[in-house]
């Protein structure tokens, strides 16, 4: 039991360290990819190919004054970014990141806790994460913040519905909420991937994933042109940085979820071992988010609502219905 606790603590600390480092690295990757798409070079001057830009940004964020504007509700203003960052990492607790491997003769499962309701836990934690932007916007005495948090409520709450409904059909097929069971279900190779039997659910999950991670086609919360920075208008320094670590950690989580649920997870892919395969898949989803950001424009809030409630949700319900009928027959 002691060993279990120690192992869990080590895993949790490792995930926290690695994922937050990757989230920082994600900002660099995003700047680079966007620059390449626009035929620019991106950050080039700090370190080789600008690689140390993350360190420079980190030093800047950490040494900035921790600023709480007058008129803000102090406690809520201070707590809100922590909610975003913390829930983003807590959500990763139930996600198996790599296949099992043995190190120094010990079998290691790279998952903090294999909950039997893993998927539900992840979705719930990402749902709780929306309290971050919501409270942040409401805590400041700033109209942009209020509009940003109102949009948070509207956007995240409605897209939670689509996420849940789109995942329901795969859950019905697998018959379990544990992400490891999802992985086992698709163990037979590319032909067994759920994306072939549930293509509609995959597309719906990707769309709502973009909305939940607040990526570009649905980037209404902090849309520069409309609401300055939305909920993050009055934030600076590390508190602002925490929102972005949370956002990038969420992007990684969505990438893992999409890879695990629909694209065969960490099963070996031909000659590629499972660990490399899942990293490749997650990298593809991360790249897809940046690619989409470079290519597509924002949509208006009313278009967002229209898309969610009038198109995606009926499609998701229909998908569940058809899946149910096929499973019955």
């Amino acid at each position: 039991m002691d060993g279990y606790i120690i192992a869990t603590v080590i895993k949790a600390v490792l995930i926290l360290a690695v994922i937050s480092a990757l989230a920082g690295f994600g900002t660099y990757i995003e700047r680079k990819i966007l620059a390449f798409v626009q035929r620019r070079l991106g950050p080039m001057h700090v370190g080789p190919y600008g690689l140390l830009q993350i360190a420079a940004d980190g030093i800047k964020l950490f040494t900035k004054e921790d600023f709480i504007p007058s008129g803000a509700n102090k406690i809520i203003f201070m707590v809100a970014p922590i909610i975003t960052a913390a829930t983003a990492f807590i959500a990763l607790a139930a996600v198996p990141l790599l296949p099992e491997f043995s190190l120094f003769g010990i079998d290691i499962k790279p998952i903090v806790s294999d909950l039997n309701i893993g998927l539900l836990f992840v979705i719930a934690m990402m749902g709780v994460g929306l309290y971050g932007p919501l409270l942040a916007g409401m805590a400041q005495e700033n109209k942009w913040g209020i509009i940003g948090s109102a949009r948070t409520a509207v956007q995240f709450l409605s897209y939670e519905v689509v996420t849940g409904l789109s995942l329901l059909a795969p859950i019905m097929m697998v018959g379990s909420l544990s992400l490891i069971d999802f992985n086992e279900y698709q163990a037979g190779g590319i032909g067994n991937w759920i994306v072939w039997t549930q293509p509609l659910a995959f597309v719906l999950f990707l769309i709502s994933g973009f909305a939940e991670t607040n990526r570009t086609p649905f980037d209404l919360l902090e849309n520069e042109a409309e609401v300055i920075s939305g909920y993050a208008t009055e934030y600076s320094g590390m508190r602002w940085g925490m929102f972005f670590i949370g956002e990038y950690a969420n992007m990684i989580t969505i990438g893992f979820l999409a890879a695990l649920i629909f694209l065969g997870g960490f099963n070996p892919l031909g000659f590629i071992p499972g660990g490399i395969a899942i990293i490749l898949k997650v990298s593809f989803f991360f790249f897809l988010m940046l690619w989409v950001r470079a290519a597509w424009p924002h949509i208006r809030p009313d278009q967002l609502m229209w898309l969610c409630w009038k198109v995606l949700m009926p499609l998701a319900v229909l998908n569940i219905l058809v899946t149910g009928i096929v499973m019955m027959v």
């Binding site: 990819i33 390449f36 798409v37 626009q38 035929r39 620019r40 070079l41 080039m44 690619w291 989409v292 470079a294 290519a295 597509w296 198109v311």
Partner: protein
């Protein structure tokens, strides 16, 4: 144009061409059909294709637009008008300026000041020559008016310095005597055109 026409001149009777936009669908079924049509045409994926194509062109086909400015510079036109240069005679190495004062006279920003005197051979020499680059508008008149091609515009456009005087003295603008062989003629204002030889006509001396 009558007064009536004048007043109505901006009201849409001109030959404006409207874009071929389809009419906005009125019924729900029409809107649904439009959504399906737009989805099936996969216009969104065309956008993705274009961006990835540009990325590959930039990364692998050498079409990156960025110029890393202080380290690499774009070529400037030979007729570019930046900080002036004073030229020397190629044969003797003496400066070309004859102290005629035309550049001082024509300068519309009043930034050229020169002083001349007779040297021991009773030839005119330039004792003082400065250009106030705080006032110079780089119009090129001085280079155009100079009869000796002595003052020309160079290509030195990075003019940030601690002292404005770093550029403006005659000695600074003059071609260094050891670089005389590298002195190039300026092809811009006042220069001899490339086909100057063909344009010369023999002067009829006998009247």
């Amino acid at each position: 144009m009558s007064l009536e026409n004048l007043k109505n001149r901006n009201i849409g009777v001109q030959n404006y061409r409207l874009l071929d936009l389809e009419p906005t669908p009125k019924t729900g079924w029409g809107k649904f059909k439009r959504v399906v049509r737009r989805s099936i045409k996969l216009e969104l994926f065309v956008g993705l294709k274009v961006t990835i194509r540009e990325m590959f062109k930039a990364l692998f086909m050498g079409e990156m637009h960025t110029v890393k400015y202080p380290f690499e510079k774009l070529p400037i036109s030979p007729r570019y008008r930046a900080i002036h240069e004073m030229k020397r005679l190629l044969e003797s190495g003496h400066y070309r300026c004859i102290g005629c004062g035309l550049c001082e006279k024509i300068c519309i920003a009043n930034c050229i000041r020169m002083d001349t005197r007779y040297d021991e051979n009773q030839r005119k020499e330039v004792s003082e020559y400065t250009i106030n680059f705080g006032r110079c508008i780089f119009c090129g008149y001085c280079a155009e008016v100079c009869p000796e091609l002595a003052i020309v515009h160079g290509g030195r456009y990075e003019t940030a310095s601690e002292q404005r005087a770093s550029f403006s003295l005659f000695e600074d603008m003059l071609t260094p005597i050891d670089k005389l062989k590298e002195q190039k003629e300026y092809p811009g204002f006042g220069a001899v055109s490339p086909n100057a030889d063909e344009n010369i006509k023999p002067t009829p001396l006998a009247y």
